[in-house]
């Protein structure tokens, strides 16, 4: 049946859902659960897990039809880690029981997910993670510290990398767990950033006991499982085509147009240079989407994040300078814990400071250049002195 599903079939299925669950009178959560059960959550997922085994491209049809009918959505931006990273990993490595337990409330947003990968001692080198998980009967006892965890304070679950064998090289001694964020011993502390706010957290794990049923994949297979998670992170960053002057360039251009008295010749040329670079980057993103649409993905994806980081930093820096005297002011240093992050939100000073992180988070620009040089250009790889060294013997 699923092989012959086309747009018309999906439209009919959406119509059925709407007929039995009128969005105007149905509770939001009830509607989302019904949508999941009808296989219209993510149509490329298997039947019974919110999908229909249909081509991913048909999802757009469902979204369009439901949006037109005024149906509630699952607010994907609020549950990005669950949708973008946890779900594909659970689908690929989870047991049947794990899939049916986790995916439905993940998709509806009833249960928020976060990611426990980075540690103070394992940033670019995530495979060096040192949070220990020690087996105790049917349970694992976890001790360690994780960092840069967004939504940790609202999350029910986390995807987590932990070291189960310190006597083998770093990539071989990791296992992948689902961590219950409400379990005793899990302590979440806000991590304040240079912007003044705390959009991330530190997570301290002290004798946290997790049943073995929360392990994803085999013991020692954690790094391979994590690759699925991280690959999906890169896909998510790829994005789709955007209109001209989207993002930071639009914010700065609007400011420029609104404040003629602040313009100088020097800033004008810099702005035009950045505008051109932003437009070329936008076109490259559009080109990448077209490549993906015809099933010929290129290595250009990793270029997009590098370009994006450079542009948002230079543009936001120009944005502060352009303000002149007003550039001396900052809107507010009060510590807040925002649920959503908007790189182009707030004032020029905030945008400038937040943009510094764009070349660090999700893979530093230096690591991305290594990846391009090695995987795209085929240049010799960096020396890996710790490749065959037991994790416990690594210099640190």
């Amino acid at each position: 049946m699923t092989e012959t599903l086309d747009a018309a079939d999906l439209k009919a299925m959406v119509a059925d859902l709407l007929a039995t669950h009128d969005p105007a009178t149905t509770d939001r959560l009830e509607f989302l659960r019904a949508r999941f059960d009808a296989g219209l959550a993510w149509v490329h997922f298997p039947v019974g897990l919110g999908g229909l085994g249909a081509p991913r491209s048909l999802q757009a049809v469902v979204e369009r039809e439901l949006a037109a009918a005024g149906a509630p959505n699952n607010e994907p931006r609020r549950i990005g880690i669950g949708l973008g990273m946890a779900a594909p990993t659970i689908l690929r490595f989870g047991t049947e029981e794990q899939k049916s337990r986790f995916l439905r409330p993940l998709w509806t947003g009833e249960e928020v997910w976060c990611q426990l990968f980075s540690e103070p001692g394992a940033g670019s080198d995530q495979a060096a993670a040192g949070t220990r998980a020690v087996r105790d009967g049917d349970e694992w006892v976890v001790n360690g510290q994780k960092v840069w965890t967004s939504t940790a304070h609202t999350a029910k679950w986390a995807i987590m990398l932990a070291r189960t064998d310190p006597d083998v090289p770093k990539h071989q001694g990791l296992s992948y767990f689902v961590c219950d964020m409400t379990a005793p011993g899990v302590e979440v502390r806000p991590l304040r950033q240079i912007t003044g706010e705390a959009e991330f957290n530190e997570v301290f794990l002290t004798d946290v006991r997790l049943p073995d049923s929360l392990r994803l994949g085999e013991v020692g297979q954690g790094w391979q499982v994590a690759q699925t998670t991280l690959m999906n992170e890169r896909v998510a960053i790829g994005g789709g085509p955007t209109p001209r002057e989207s993002g930071m360039v639009g914010v700065v251009a609007a400011d420029w147009r609104a404040r003629p008295e602040l313009r100088t010749h020097e800033l004008h040329d810099r702005l035009l240079r950045l505008w051109v670079a932003a437009e070329a980057t936008r076109l490259a993103g559009a080109r990448l989407s077209q490549q993906l649409a015809v099933g010929a993905p290129g290595p250009e994806g990793s270029a997009m994040k590098l370009s994006f980081a450079r542009l948002s930093q230079e543009l936001s820096g120009l944005g502060v300078e352009f303000r002149g005297e007003d550039g001396l002011r900052y809107d507010d240093w009060t510590m807040r814990r925002p649920e959503l992050v908007d790189f182009t939100g707030r004032d020029a000073g905030y945008r400038y400071l937040r943009a510094r992180g764009n070349s660090i988070e999700g893979g530093t620009s230096e690591i991305l250049r290594n990846i391009i040089a090695e995987r795209v250009l085929g240049l010799p790889t960096e020396a890996r002195v710790d490749k065959d060294m037991p994790w416990k013997d690594m210099p640190r």
Partner: protein
């Protein structure tokens, strides 16, 4: 122009194709194949100081077998009815080989100028047929640095006959016919002036060894191609098409520089290891590659807008030029630097690409002038008074 504070209209994106079609890829393969056999960088280098810096035999093959001169010309005028998209692919390959041939002057600039004249007039149609067949090579008699939107050139005036000198005309030494912008009592016009009596071509010692320029002095009668009603638009159309297609040439130049340098740093050993294993070099080459990704998108968009005559063509071409010019120059400069000493020698072809890239930066408008044009096009005006 929109009011201050409002966002310029977003161009319609539907139908824009930034990829290469199968036909375009096949065309690329044919051109690349021919150039690899007939005009490798070492062959080009061997030719630059001879009396025949352009490979006329190669140009004949490009014209006769691959329709390079006929591509932009519609079938009813003896052409093959291709578009700027295919021309751009050819430009990429010719740039990747710094092919010494009158492609830009004849097949792009002169042909585009004629196509923007009244093609139902017998003189225009005849010249286009002759260009498409390869019988005639032409060029556009403007300084190569001229940009669309510049004041109409007044170096040549008309009073019975055309008189004046036009400096740094591209491909002039190869031209049988000059398309000459001239100002007469009625205003700006375009004339066709055959090479020969009354036309003096004085070669310039050019920075670019593989694309020649010359000063052209005219004291001759010409055939009117376009009068004041049409000449300004026709010239601008030619310069816009030229600038858009030139972006793809710049992409090709940059691609050769990247490919060749990557190959070299893998083979070159110092300190007992390939120099390409040093992160300082890896990161610089990653940046060159990154620039090529965005340059390719900008060049493809300009070619697509030219081919489909989209409303956004002026912005697309200005973005492509402002972006691809410095990308090509940077790639060529990095090629010289990362080759070390050998990159500084006459013997190695890297300098041919550096010279082409630097000349292309000036050709048909510098990046700074294209940015200045964008300021008006996208409503980002400069300081008030």
């Amino acid at each position: 122009m929109t009011k201050s504070g409002s966002i310029p209209p977003v161009p319609q994106r539907a139908g824009v194709n930034l990829l290469y079609s199968d036909v375009e890829e096949a065309l690329r393969a044919s051109v690349a194949d021919l150039l690899a056999k007939r005009s490798a960088p070492a062959d080009v280098l061997a030719r630059v100081e001879t009396d025949e810096p352009y490979d006329t035999a190669l140009w004949s093959v490009l014209v006769e077998q691959l329709d390079v001169a006929a591509l932009l010309v519609p079938e009813e005028l003896g052409g093959v009815g291709g578009s700027a998209r295919e021309m751009a692919v050819i430009a990429e390959e010719l740039g990747r080989a710094v092919t010494p041939a009158p492609f830009l002057g004849s097949a792009v600039l002169a042909t585009s100028a004629l196509l923007a004249c009244d093609t139902s007039s017998a003189g225009v149609a005849k010249l286009l047929r002759s260009l498409a067949s390869g019988e005639t090579v032409a060029t556009l008699a403007v300084p190569l640095s001229t940009m669309a939107g510049d004041p109409f050139p007044s170096a040549v005036t008309v009073a019975g006959e055309l008189t004046g000198t036009v400096t740094t005309v591209v491909d002039a030494a190869s031209a049988d016919v000059f398309v000459v912008p001239a100002v007469g009592p009625d205003g700006p016009s375009l004339y066709a002036v055959p090479a020969g009596d009354g036309v003096t071509v004085t070669p310039v010692t050019a920075l670019d060894l593989t694309r020649r320029v010359a000063d052209v002095t005219v004291a001759a009668t010409g055939e009117l191609l376009a009068g004041p009603d049409r000449a300004v638009r026709a010239l601008a159309a030619a310069l816009t098409a030229g600038a858009g297609i030139l972006a793809s040439e710049q992409l090709g130049v940059a691609q050769w520089c990247l490919d060749t340098t990557v190959r070299y740093v893998k083979e070159r050993y110092q300190f007992g290891r390939p120099v390409g294993s040093f992160q300082a070099l890896k990161h610089r080459l990653a940046d060159v590659w990154l620039n090529l990704v965005t340059a390719r998108a900008a060049a493809r968009y300009a070619a697509d807008c030219l081919a489909e005559d989209r409303d956004d063509v002026a912005v697309a071409v200005a973005v492509a030029q402002a972006h691809c010019s410095p990308v090509a120059v940077h790639a060529a400069e990095e090629a010289v630097q990362l080759h070390g000493g050998i990159g500084m020698t006459w013997e190695h072809p890297a300098h041919l690409f550096l010279k082409r890239a630097k000349s292309d930066e000036i050709a048909l408008g510098t990046p700074g002038r294209h940015r200045a044009a964008l300021a008006g096009l996208v409503d980002l005006p400069g300081p008030v008074a």
